[in-house]
């Protein structure tokens, strides 16, 4: 949130179209290609359309969650309440589905609404009470976990996902193209539109660069920050709803594996963790990169321990490549 780094100072001699490409996004896409090449050496079925579509489908769950995370990161904040917001969305949607025909219809909106509520608490805390986002989101995560533990009695709930949830996550409206991918594409297109073509989007970037300046220019920064957190909460919960549809039921700690990857996807896609800089294309690249990495590691039958280590090392290494703050002078 403090200083913003200048990018591409040395690239002024390059042709114009090359200069417009963010080096971080280019690196991320290059890594995707490298991973695909490496994977195809390991197994020939790696480049088959079925496999790639399957990967895209898996990536779309992370993609939906990372979209919300990106909004918040662009503000220079962070949302660490992802794990239990995802679980809350999934559990509440499944719970609503158990309440007769009305519940089935309202299952998905209800799950998302619960996520928006968690996001609103985060947003009010960050924007109006000026609590550091990292702290308040950790706290709401703990509260959401507490609520879900009390609700479920500490076990995975018995309610199963509704038909609509399953259809959204596993069905395919257009033959061959999974619905989850379409959902991600729609959300992605909407995000690109909001971020680049609306006042809200421009304000998000402005606040990320310097909130004080944005406030003095007449932006209601507190409302924008609160809205962004609510959107992040809603999208996390929607990700949870999709995941519940995919697995046909909600589970305890189902959101835990999504916190680190969603931050990693956003940051690897070139969005500055200090806020104010980043493109949705980069986030898409980051999400696909993370999903492919996960997939290759599981194809190689890498145990959980190795996966965690590789994640951490990859994130630190990529950040050291292009995510450093400017040196103090």
């Amino acid at each position: 949130m403090s200083d913003t780094a200048t990018t591409g100072g040395a690239s002024s001699r390059m042709p114009k179209f090359l200069r417009r490409i963010d080096p971080a996004v280019a690196t991320a896409f290059a890594c995707i290609v490298a991973l695909l090449v490496f994977g195809s050496l390991y197994s020939t079925s790696f480049l088959s359309p079925e496999y790639l579509l399957q990967q895209l489908k898996v990536a779309s769950f992370l993609g939906v969650i990372a979209t919300g995370m990106m909004m918040v990161v662009l503000l220079g904040q962070i949302d660490l309440s992802i794990p239990w917001t995802v679980a809350t969305g999934a559990m509440m949607a499944s719970a609503a589905a158990a309440f007769g025909p009305v519940g089935v219809v309202l299952a998905i909106p209800f799950g998302i609404l619960c996520g928006i509520l968690i996001g609103l608490v985060n947003g009010v805390g960050v924007a109006y009470l000026r609590i550091p986002s990292m702290i308040i989101t950790l706290a709401t995560n703990a509260v959401a976990q507490g609520l879900m533990v009390v609700y479920t009695g500490g076990f995975s709930p018995q309610d199963s996902a509704s038909e609509a949830m399953r259809y959204l996550a596993t069905g395919s409206l257009i033959p061959g193209l999974p619905n989850a991918v379409i959902v991600w594409a729609v959300i992605g297109a909407a995000t690109v539109f909001v971020l680049t073509r609306t006042t809200f989007g421009r304000s998000v970037y402005a606040i990320g660069n310097r909130e004080r300046a944005a406030y003095l220019s007449g932006v209601d920064t507190r409302r924008i920050v609160m809205t962004a957190f609510a959107v992040s909460g809603g999208l996390s919960a929607f990700g949870g709803v999709l995941l519940a549809g995919y697995a046909s039921k909600a589970a305890q700690s189902m959101g835990d594996p999504y916190l680190l990857p969603s931050i990693a996807a956003v940051v690897l896609g070139g969005t500055s963790i200090l806020g104010g800089r980043g493109s949705y294309l980069g986030t898409v690249a980051g999400v696909i990169l993370i999903t492919l990495l996960q997939s290759i590691l599981s194809v190689m039958q890498m145990p959980e321990a190795g996966r965690q280590i590789i994640y951490g090392v990859v994130i630190v290494a990529m950040l050291l490549l292009y995510g450093r703050s400017p040196a103090s002078r």
Binding site: I78, L129, R130, I135, V150, Q308, G323, R324
Partner: protein, 326 residues
């Protein structure tokens, strides 16, 4: 204004944490079926010091205006390591303890190097290194198990002269050996200066980088002492992801309760220790009042939410709205 009023103002956070802890502990022991006995105090202090060590670790980093989201994972990693190497005779046990502490220092140094010399944001950097530390812990202990030198473990978790909990004595010794010299040294002041105004400190020629690096390193060491104690209490090592996350979270809560400013530059590890004791006692209050343990996570979460919201009261004193943006 006389000097003692300055001193009092400086220690306000610590004294408040002490006050909260004393009140909570009196309520706790008054309602405990066994009352205020050496046994109750020993159990409470054994549980309390674990969090106290991790909270001290968190304090050192928070003072520099950073945050260490990997303390819980260093804690778990050293626990798993100790369950392998702190065994056998006196020489082996001593070497094992030293090795565990060194690994803690190494983890802290890695965090410090990445954050200070790599110039990455502490949040993301320590989340990532935390994943690495947890991965290593999982490699060491895919399944819970292992053992520890039980004589040492019993001695350090038992009571001295039948009354004083030994773990409290170790905590006191740690404060005297690590925290007091650090906070009074040039590097300790540099860590505080980095937290209160990095630019001003840089202009004054304060050894910022070394001070911050030392803070991260000592944080790793303190988390490792915590991990060692966890092994002494449980006799086993377990790579528990949820537990590591919980300790990271609770350490932040303890630090806030202990009057340490999350924006850096203000607070002390002693305050964080009382914050940790207070947080633990609040969690245990549920048991003496015979409530369903299922409610404990929610109760702790709400306490945490209230604790972190307390800082918002400073907003009422803001005269110029631009101060919102720091």
């Amino acid at each position: 204004m006389s000097e003692w009023r300055y001193r009092l103002a400086e220690q306000k956070g610590t004294l408040l944490a002490l006050g909260i802890f004393v009140v909570m502990f009196v309520i706790y022991t008054a309602n405990h079926p066994a009352g205020f006995t050496a046994n109750v105090v020993q159990t409470a202090s054994n549980k309390g010091v674990l969090l106290a060590f991790v909270a001290m670790a968190q304090t050192l980093v928070v003072i520099t205006a950073g945050i260490d989201l990997s303390v819980g994972m260093i804690f778990i990693l050293t626990n798993c390591l100790a369950s392998w190497i702190v065994v056998g005779g006196p020489v082996e046990t001593t070497l094992g303890v030293i090795a565990v502490l060194l690994v803690g220092v190494l983890c802290g140094a890695l965090n410090g190097a990445i954050v200070i010399y790599g110039r990455l944001q502490p949040i993301v950097a320590t989340i990532a290194t935390g994943a690495v530390y947890f991965g290593i812990a999982l490699l060491l202990r895919p399944f819970p198990g292992g053992s520890v030198n039980e004589d040492v473990a019993d001695a350090l978790t038992g009571r001295l002269f039948g009354v004083i909990p030994a773990s409290l004595v170790v905590l006191l010794a740690t404060v005297l050996v690590i925290w007091v010299p650090f906070s009074r040294s040039v590097y300790g002041r540099a860590a505080y200066a980095a937290g209160s105004s990095e630019v001003a400190a840089y202009m004054s020629g304060v050894p910022l980088k070394r001070g911050k690096f030392l803070a991260y390193m000592l944080a790793g060491l303190l988390a490792a002492i915590g991990g060692l104690f966890l092994t002494f209490f449980t006799y086993t090592g377990e790579a528990a992801y949820a537990s590591g996350n919980a300790y990271t979270l609770f350490s932040i809560a303890a630090v806030v309760l202990g009057g340490v400013s999350l924006f850096g530059g203000r607070g002390s590890a002693i305050g964080a220790i009382f914050g940790a004791f207070a947080f633990r006692t609040i969690g245990d209050l549920l048991f003496v009042f015979d409530l369903d343990p299922l409610w404990q996570p929610l109760f702790q979460g709400v306490v945490l939410l209230i604790a972190v919201s307390l800082g918002a009261f400073a907003l009422f004193r803001v005269k110029n709205r631009l101060e919102w943006f720091g």
